[in-house]
Point group: C2
Chain length 348, copies 2
């Protein structure tokens, strides 16, 4: 590394941005200047990163002057407009929105799975996958290398913070409302006290909601299609069969997934456990005899993809069932973005 | 019906027993005497059923004298000992424990799916399926009749009350403990205030736990094997392929399941929706355009199996993905038991 690149964090004040500043403060210091960028209404706000107080600047073409790498965590339409502007100003953009993930000229990168793809960036943009895909893909990539992945059937247990700070705030508010009340024995009970659903369609406290994202064709949610399309692109398996049902659960942060994975070859539980135990970025916690498996309350705030409940399917010698947890704001968003940016930073 | 049979409710004071008394008070009155039976420590307790105050009597051989039908909702080992005693006293036993479900001389009955099986009861015992199986099987039975079921991949979202009154109580207590606190951003945060896990291995408030039941071979939980073995027996499909991952979620009552079902024939989303719309005991709520799908807070306290998110799998024309909810204390336990008992009562 001859020269430390400068970094912009766009969307610095959001749920993922907040985690990003924390991550940047704790990982190896590979950057020169760090500039915080957000919408005009957050400009002037002061935030701490690497122990320094930084003042947030408003998003503008000038904000990218002198920036080598720009991380974006903003809504799709903001990325769509501003990532190309940052790129044309000379920054390599690492974008965490859905705007460019399926663009064939934009690589979709998970450093443990396909780091080589960062070089293929004709637009100067690299995409970071969706948090749900990211919560399982490191583990599935490791098993794919061993056995050759053919099909995934996935059911998700997605945390409130997957819908941003508004999701976190509303779940906390709803938990406060339902506490110390005798509710929940009759249909609609919870609705007597929970009236504001925030970014969700229904109460989330003491409930699960089988929906995440926007409506796509044939009854699918955007989140379900992302799991399918992004898994295919990251693993380089254009024909991978994927069925996903995405469900929001009353967890603050950390997505979990129950995965049924079918491979080209016969699998063994102990070999699969060994593969996962040795995989970079994966922690295996699979000791059901002692009731040890990953759960969100112990995964939140940590970096790895946590895997447990590894079983060979009883009726298919080529299939594995497992349960996986990942902090959706860290590996599912900020951490993976930071890891990609560090790969780019190593080019300087 | 020439004569109203007498009924015993064994385990009348538990979570399911409480719902049972409510159900017996609201459904058609097909019984003569109703006798409430529980453990010696609950004897003498007074409970209301059909508007009458009844005094709980202690479990003993004499307690079954003059009883035509006995419903049991007690732990496996209590059923194992006492159901044969009740049967030898002349009662037809409808048992909701796991003690007899896989006994080839005991039918496992879901009235909407295999009502004819109640006649085949050489031991005088009829078993009621596990709540997780019951939460989906009416819907799957209807689709099986249309398309021929080949395989199920299931991930569950199981409510606290599936672990009994102790499960309900501990979730309520934990919700009260985490309310109005800034917790959940770091691993182990929730454990600072939640120390008592009740029947669970980990905190359940603001968490999900990938475990239900006891440890069986090869890393499986008893609950996962029940879903497989009971689905096979109820549907009469000895070779049905079933993969299940059972997960507890912070919902008070109502189990949900994400189901990937593979059939012998090509499926159509609209035909599957029509089949479910017309199926006895099923309510279809499948209007994602208006964010309408079943969720536990609106299903609790109701009788049907609620189905939504019906989709044809994108990569398998023979497969359907859907989301199903059922009140685990009603259809998942007390209601199905009551329905079986009513089929028996019609013989009198």
């Amino acid at each position: 590394m001859s020269n430390k690149p400068s970094l912009a964090v766009v969307g610095a004040t959001g749920a993922v941005g907040t985690v990003m500043l924390n991550i940047l403060s704790k990982r190896e210091n590979v950057y020169g200047e760090i500039r915080l960028i957000a919408s005009a209404k957050s400009a002037g706000k002061k935030l701490t990163c690497r122990g320094e107080e930084l003042t947030v600047v408003a998003l503008s073409p000038e904000a990218f002057e002198g920036i080598d790498i720009a991380m974006f965590d903003v809504p799709d339409e903001v990325s769509k407009e501003w990532a190309p502007i940052a790129a044309s100003n000379g920054a390599v953009v690492v974008d965490n929105s859905g705007a460019f993930r399926m663009d064939k000229d934009v690589p979709l990168v998970v450093p443990e799975v396909n780091p080589q793809e960062i070089k293929n960036r004709p637009k100067g943009i690299i995409s970071n996958p969706n948090c749900t895909t990211l919560s399982m893909i490191v583990a599935m990539g490791a098993l794919h290398k061993e056995y050759g992945l053919k099909e995934l059937v996935v059911a998700s247990y997605q945390a409130a913070s997957g819908a941003g700070q508004g999701g976190l705030d509303i779940l906390r508010e709803q938990i406060n409302l339902v506490a110390n009340k005798s509710l929940g024995d009759e249909a609609g009970d919870i609705r007597k006290v929970v009236k504001d659903f925030g970014p969700f369609s229904d109460p989330l406290a003491l409930n699960v909601i089988p929906w995440a994202g926007s409506l796509k064709e044939d009854g699918y949610s955007s989140e379900e299609l992302k799991v399918r399309n992004e898994s295919r692109k990251i693993l380089g398996l254009a024909d991978l069969k994927v069925s996903a049902t995405c469900v929001r659960v009353p967890v603050l942060t950390t997505h979990s997934l129950a995965v049924h994975a079918i491979f080209d070859k016969e699998v063994s539980r102990s070999v699969a456990q060994e593969v996962l135990r040795n995989a970079a970025g994966v922690e295996l916690v699979d000791d059901p005899e002692n009731y040890k498996f990953p759960t969100p309350v112990d995964v939140v705030g940590t970096d790895p993809t946590w895997v447990g409940r590894v079983r060979r399917s009883l009726d298919d010698p080529n299939a594995i069932d497992l349960f996986v947890c990942g902090d959706n704001l860290r590996k599912g968003a900020a951490l993976n973005t930071a890891q990609i940016a560090e790969l780019v930073a190593a080019e300087f």
